[in-house]
Symmetry: C2
Subunit: 307 residues, 2 copies
């Protein structure tokens, strides 16, 4: 069962010859969730051979151009390709005000429903769930209302042991209850504890996307212990003033958040176009939080199943 | 003195992993003219190492997304990079109605003037000139009002012979008049014809951009004899019905126009995404007009100086 993240764009506001603007794609068991949508997302999806017709859910952090301009082309291509499936977009309500007036010239007749789900910029809350995962908002600190997103697998049922099914001649109803955590009461009136009948389920994997944001400790309890944290690191810490002025973070600050939140792995990105080589940003972060990686367009990060 | 065309996008409405949507860049003596502006133009400009801050003139054929979506990101980057120079945009007046309402969220405060020059979709007329060239509109036949563009170098002054300057002891005023085509009247009252004093100037080079359009013979007199003709060839001729229904051309039709207009070289592009390999389109065109090339993103076509 996959839980993997593909980086579609790793640059900040100005793209470079190597880096497109912000966009991530999370694949959870072959269901695709798009997170932010910078210019050229549809080209990146094609380049990385992602069947983007399968995207039904898009999460937008904030309505700056480098996070939303790819929506226009993506919507246009969905329409040209005959999409009928509803497309769900989660974002601040300003996004709808931006997109809607452009649909007429862009699409003519839109063939599929676009369902906007407004996300409040303050207070973390459950904004989406399906049978695979839950998504919570993460209020961030930026020039305009901005939220990150916490994706977490749903708790899985416990794995029943084969030998237990045989030994106790379990029927279907009993199996379902046991997988759900119940103990077994045998015909003889004996109670067999669930631990004896099952193996523990796999851990729920999680991914937190935090971009764009200034250094903001309020997010720490929300993202505590996640497997993967993506935190923007637009500048080196020697550009702290510039980072603060623009409500962005330095690599050192991203690593500090990761360290305080005790996450398993930190990914940094959203680099200022001034850094062609991002090794200095990576080094700065690793100094605080060793398990850091600096993302590049096309990188894939898998979170493996574990108990 | 350069007169060269760079292909920034060769696909039709749907980009592919190899081909971005429509955009060309014409470089005339290091002055850059952008023609159409599909999504991702700014990334292509960077990829092909074009100093795009030098672009002051953009010509838009029509307001379909695959010809204009790159404008948003380009305007945003111009603004972020501190552009102050006016940007001149030549297009149907609908473009301004599309762009203007988006500027507030896209740019905040726009730091540079955007000057819209409305182009009428009927009747070829001079829409722009500077000291390097003239640009005439070419009315095309498409679903919405669409024009192509004819770029032609301005006539150059004749090259005065060194030996003539010495022989007749020409002063500055005389040289200017002779370069402009005048004969010389010597102090002795003798008339020396301009042909004896000068070499002929170079030929005026020309480029015609015709996309998107159905087969439309009315353009032939306008583009007659151009050095380079770009004519869309969205489909193979066996898809003629589909081409007609969508007001596009087949490769055979593009070549027929080239042949009837007696152009020097034909470039085809704007391929339907169904053609990963465009050799069949090229073969079909070459069968009618041998000097055809099928463009790909990043191709550069130079027109050399000749007399």
């Amino acid at each position: 069962v996959s839980f993997s993240l593909t980086i579609l764009g790793s640059s900040s506001a100005l793209p470079t010859s190597k880096r497109f603007t912000s966009a991530h794609l999370l694949n959870v068991d072959e269901r695709l969730y798009l997170i932010d949508c910078g210019e050229g997302v549809q080209m990146q999806l094609r380049r990385f051979k992602i069947r983007f017709g399968k995207i039904n859910h898009i999460f937008i952090s904030h309505v700056h151009g480098d996070h939303i301009l790819g929506l226009f082309g993506l919507l246009s291509s969905f329409n040209l390709l005959g999409r009928k499936e509803p497309l769900h977009i989660f974002s601040h309500h300003d996004l709808q005000k931006i997109i809607s007036p452009n649909l007429q010239w862009l699409l003519g007749e839109c063939q599929f429903p676009i369902v906007y789900h407004p996300v409040k910029p303050s207070g973390s809350e459950l904004i989406f769930e399906d049978d695979k995962l839950t998504v919570h908002s993460i209020p961030l600190k930026h020039r305009i209302p901005t939220v990150g997103f916490l994706f977490r697998e749903k708790s899985r049922m416990r794995n029943i042991k084969k030998e237990a099914i045989e030994k106790y001649e379990l029927n279907f109803g009993e199996i379902v209850k046991i997988k759900d955590g119940a103990d077994l009461r045998t015909k003889e009136g004996l109670v067999v504890s669930n631990n004896e009948l099952t193996d523990p389920s796999f851990r729920q994997r999680s991914y937190a996307y935090c971009s764009d944001t200034a250094y903001y400790e309020s997010i720490i309890p929300i993202i505590s212990g996640v497997d993967l944290l993506y935190h923007e690191a637009t500048f080196l810490h020697k550009e702290l003033k510039r980072a603060k002025d623009n409500f962005h973070s330095t690599a050192l600050q991203a690593a500090t958040i990761a360290e305080k939140a005790k996450v398993k792995k930190l990914l940094i990105g959203h680099y200022s176009a001034r850094y062609k080589d991002v090794t200095p940003l990576l080094d700065e972060a690793k100094n605080i939080f060793p398990d850091t990686e600096a993302v590049e367009d096309g990188d894939i990060y898998n979170v493996e199943l574990s108990k």
